[in-house]
């Protein structure tokens, strides 16, 4: 065993240049694999959190952009007058928003303040934040990504111009930057404040409409039950509803944006394929260079299995080292360097999960095994006589 390790080490260091080049050719595709998987996992995490929250999203049946009257909240709540099964019904209106002289969109949603706190316990607002949010009708909870992007802190007064009527600048007071929330982008403000402004500045526009309702249920059974009951409740009315659980609702939106998860998965598959090609290339060159050696090994009595495993371990070792570097470099880069401030749509901060790195190293190992199959089999089958005949 000891001998084998020495031989392996010598083999890898025999042509350091080739070893380095192969490490890089395997490692760099792993960088891409890790980055794209991190985005996919980030999105899944986002969706999984949505699924865990036992929330229903109620939107207009015809299209998500058709508004619903906010009076529906009371009707929905009446399905469970005790308030123990349906614990919160929160009306929401997407109002967009921009700051002066800046093209970036500050995606803001006006919500019913009190139900919001109950419907989104995953925001984990502190009692002080909760208090400030409920007391101040101009309060705004910023997504931490948005806050970081614009350099806003708790206590700041900010002015946003909604992208919808009334279009006039509105002042908000930052009460929280939602550090625990999974959604780092969306900002939340009071719907009452928005409606007041709308009435004051733009009385012609339709009032008291919401884009959708988010409803918190007490259990999974309630979730399934109310999903059907809510749609039944409004069947035949002017504005029929379409109720989905939060995950399905979010997913519909994500797949429309370039279908990012699917396309990234294809991309990582392609890069892994490239890495296999690169590694196979090296191993076949190594094998050809050492043809004589393997022949000699066999001639002096080492079995085909020994030579087979020698080639396999070498390739495995090589790819594992390359894969480890390729997986850990982005991990370190996105954790300890300014790169951690890079923003990605939807998930904002690219968090490279250790599990993704582990997968990458595993895949690198698999690449190593696959790459060495052909040379190793050839070595295994090699007839000593023929091999020795070729000796120079």
């Amino acid at each position: 065993m000891h001998l084998r390790l020495i031989y392996l080490y010598r083999n890898l260091t025999r042509n350091p240049l080739r070893t380095c080049l192969t490490c890089a050719a395997v490692g760099l595709p792993m960088v891409i694999y890790v980055l794209s998987s991190a985005v996919i996992v980030g999105m899944e995490k986002f969706l999984d959190n949505s699924a865990k929250q036992l929330r229903l999203a109620v939107a207009h049946k015809a299209s998500i952009v058709n508004p619903l009257p906010d009076g529906y909240a009371r009707k929905i709540q009446s399905l469970d007058p005790t308030g123990t099964r349906l614990t919160a019904v929160c009306g929401m209106r997407w109002i967009g928003g921009k700051i002066e002289n800046d093209p970036r969109l500050v995606s803001t949603v006006a919500v019913d303040a009190e139900p919001f706190v109950n419907a989104f316990p995953d925001y984990q607002l502190t009692p002080a934040e909760k208090d400030a949010w409920l007391k101040d009708r101009q309060a705004i909870i910023l997504g931490r990504g948005t806050a970081a992007q614009f350099g806003w802190n708790v206590g700041d007064r900010i002015t946003l111009r909604p992208s919808l009527p009334p279009y006039t600048p509105m002042e908000f007071h930052v009460v929280s930057t939602a550090d625990k929330a999974t959604d780092p982008l969306t900002n939340w403000c009071h719907r009452t404040y928005f409606e007041e402004e709308l009435k004051k500045q733009y009385p012609e526009a339709p009032q008291n409409m919401v884009s959708f309702f988010f409803i918190k249920c007490a259990s999974r059974q309630d979730l399934d039950r109310f999903r059907i009951q809510i749609d039944d409740l409004f069947k035949g009315s002017i504005d029929e509803t379409k109720t989905q659980d939060e995950k399905a609702f979010m997913n519909e939106y994500i797949t429309q944006q370039f279908n990012l998860p699917r396309n990234l998965a294809i991309l990582s598959a392609v890069t892994v394929f490239v890495a296999i090609m690169a590694a196979t290339n090296t191993m076949s060159m190594n094998f050809r260079d050492r043809f004589n050696e393997y022949a000699t090994l066999k001639a002096i009595g080492f079995g085909g299995g020994y030579v087979f495993s020698l080639i396999q371990t070498e390739s495995l070792g090589l790819c594992l080292v390359g894969g480890a570097i390729g997986a850990l470099a982005p991990y370190a880069a996105f954790r300890f360097t300014p790169l951690r401030n890079v923003t990605v749509p939807l998930i904002q901060h690219l968090e490279i999960q250790p599990i993704v790195c582990a997968y990458a190293i595993g895949i690198a190992g698999a690449i190593g095994v696959i790459a060495a199959v052909w040379p190793a089999v050839q070595a295994f089958r090699m007839k000593v006589v023929t091999a020795l005949r070729n000796l120079e």
Binding site: L21, S63, N66, Q256, A278
Partner: protein, 390 residues
């Protein structure tokens, strides 16, 4: 004197497996580059084909797109006062009141997932203000009828939008509109939309206001003055050239190009290493041969050129194959949801000459960078030492 290309060709054929693997690596790299860039090119081409510099789009200030804009009749009445609005054949002002809304329609793919398709309620003037909108099949909708015409891209991409198809529109999705025509703008953004008579759409959606107004100017030069008038206190709306509006939407593609650049840089470095690896092996296997060449009088430069050419040969052919493979994807219809308009824009993947040139440049760069170090090593082979081994 240079070594003949035939020599390189023969050399590549000696190491078939190694050459083939390098070839595949470069071809895949080029394929990924072309496909990724074809997304951006498709979107840009679609938006570049949209709008006229002689047309102004009038929106409510603060609204980010037509779908979130509301213009009241009062405001519209002031827009009409603007000078320099062109007149049509019957002397009418070429200004089109448009009502933009949207509906969910399943895509024509296996998943049948829903897409937000834009619906535009327009009057007959719209076809004069947007002359690029030509009916290519069927006829225009009749005012007062529940009829619609659909863009060519929308018809191909979304379900049930062929002529004779029926779509349920309206706030309650209870008005059945019939598709009576298909229009084509030559790949512009309108091609992803559904157009219907404004009065009917307005009634179906219970909308009393228009979203935007598009107007045609007498000449290009009038734009600055008219924009100043409309954006000024007299009208207090926001107007811009249509071309500028679409250019702004096209900014979204920068994200794709940026992402592609990063990915391709990483992948190309990997590919360059793979090429270098192969070339080093080629050089090491041919030390005696190189020494021989040097002895019979080939210069160091000729040796370097020969090895670089050899690597370029692989890369250029691989590039050609990669681009050719990417052409299989060209023309496939995609759509994306703009976060400004909240509607989907259908577009075709496009492999432009620019993309092919970029691919070729990349393949050459990979080939040269990968081969340079091995070629230099080859040129340094010491003649005496190598010959001694013969």
């Amino acid at each position: 004197m240079a070594l003949p290309l035939y020599y390189n060709w023969r050399n590549l054929r000696v190491r078939k497996l190694s050459s083939a693997l390098t070839f595949i690596v470069v071809a895949v790299l080029v394929l990924v580059l072309c496909v990724l860039l074809s997304f951006a090119a498709g979107i840009r081409a679609s938006l570049a084909a949209s709008g006229w510099s002689r047309n102004l789009l009038v929106l409510k200030p603060g609204a980010t797109a037509e779908s979130t804009s509301i213009i009241t009749p009062d405001e519209y009445g002031r827009v009409v006062q603007a000078h320099d609005i062109a007149r049509g054949p019957d002397g009418e002002l070429l200004i089109s009141q448009e009502l933009c809304t949207q509906t969910s329609i399943p895509r024509r793919n296996a998943a049948r997932n829903l897409a937000n398709v834009a619906i535009r309620g327009v009057d007959a003037t719209a076809f004069l203000v947007h002359p690029e909108v030509r009916i290519v099949e069927g006829r225009r909708f009749e005012p007062g009828q529940l009829e619609i015409v659909v863009g060519k891209a929308a018809r191909d991409r979304f379900e049930n939008l062929r002529i004779g198809g029926e779509v349920r529109l309206g706030r309650q999705a209870n008005r059945v509109y019939r598709v009576v025509g298909v229009f084509d703008t030559g790949g512009g953004a309108f091609d992803s939309e559904i157009w219907g008579p404004r009065a009917q759409i307005s009634d179906s959606y219970n909308r009393r206001f228009i979203s935007s107004a598009a107007l045609r100017l007498n000449d290009d030069l009038a734009a600055t003055g008219t924009i100043a008038y409309i954006n000024g206190p007299a009208v207090a709306l926001e107007s811009k050239r249509e071309t500028d509006y679409y250019a702004e939407l096209a900014k979204k593609t920068r994200e794709i190009v940026f992402l592609t650049t990063i990915l391709i840089i990483i992948m190309s470095i990997g590919a360059a290493f793979a090429v270098a690896n192969t070339m080093y092996a080629a050089v090491d296997g041919r030390r005696r041969e190189i020494a021989m060449l040097r002895t019979i009088g080939f210069s160091k430069a000729a040796i370097i050129t020969s090895f670089v050419t050899e690597s370029l040969l692989i890369c250029v052919v691989a590039c050609a194959v990669g681009v050719a493979a990417s052409l299989l994807f060209a023309g496939s219809r995609q759509d994306f949801l703009s976060d400004m308009t909240w509607t989907v824009l259908a577009y075709e993947l496009r492999i432009t000459p620019g993309i092919a040139a970029t691919a070729l440049a990349l393949a050459c760069a990979v080939g040269v960078l990968g081969a340079l170090a091995p070629a230099v090593r080859a040129s340094r082979v010491r003649v005496i030492e190598a010959l001694r081994k013969v």
